[in-house]
Assembly symmetry: C2
């Protein structure tokens, strides 16, 4: 019972962060998203691609599937902003973001409470036996905070 | 057992966020902290005061004590940046931040697992009976994300 409450708390925060980000993105024009969030900092498009690529990696990290858009890894995780000239259009990035999060949400809804406390795939079985907190739930907590971090920056794109 | 793992996951993320913020603050001079994080946006000092005031409110919200610095509420929560001319010095703000988080950490360490699933004080007993996820643990998750949001902005103070 209590473990289910904790899972609900964590998932509610995740969904709330995605929803706040959606609201912000919907309020920004494509032109605004192509601006730097602050002088000399990442562009909105880079942060959108970065968040999408990081979330797309969660399928394999959680052991629930394969990435939908692995071609986003290089321009938005490996490389910094402006290092890759040919990035997807803003329209494509908006669609990728939506698709990745919608698909994740479906998987999350199907996981049973106990499955949230199973290991994620970047920890070995041996290490997990010693460090059982390195579970799937922890990934959601950590990635929620990652969204919040960049959402605070994306908010500067609003006039 | 599983509820304790969930609590550990949440508290580890909280402490990690505080630690990351400390590291950033320690790397910034008082002069840098007095700058706006981006043109026309909040100053670093305002965000530091804001985070401190929000964390100071957690004592009563969690039902574990009284605020240490209630005079921070008006200039850093009620009012926007630059509305109050006479704010504490950067030195004082740095000390308040440290003191509030250190005191919170001591209280957190003393809470028993079951106590994390008790209601926080902004929800009534009647509502809590229907919405048991409005517990203390949820406050930590929510405030962790709040730190992350502003940490992403404070990071822009670095050259």
């Amino acid at each position: 019972m209590k473990q289910e409450l904790a899972i609900k708390n964590v998932l509610d925060t995740w969904h709330s962060n995605i929803s706040r980000t959606d609201t912000l993105l919907n309020s920004l024009t494509d032109e605004q998203l192509q601006n730097e969030v602050a002088p000399g900092r990442n562009r909105g498009t880079y942060l959108l691609g970065h968040l999408t690529a990081v979330h797309d990696r969660m399928f394999s990290l959680l052991g629930i599937g394969q990435p939908l858009y692995p071609h986003l890894d290089n321009p938005f995780i490996t490389q910094p902003d402006k290092a890759v000239a040919d990035i997807p259009s803003v329209t494509d990035l908006r669609n990728y973001w939506k698709e990745v999060n919608t698909t994740l949400a479906k998987h999350f809804a199907n996981l049973q409470p106990d499955e949230w406390f199973q290991r994620h795939t970047s920890v070995s079985e041996e290490d997990f036996a010693k460090e059982p907190h390195r579970n799937r739930l922890n990934i959601i907590i950590s990635r929620s905070n990652h969204v919040s971090y960049h959402l605070g920056q994306l908010a500067f794109l609003k006039k």
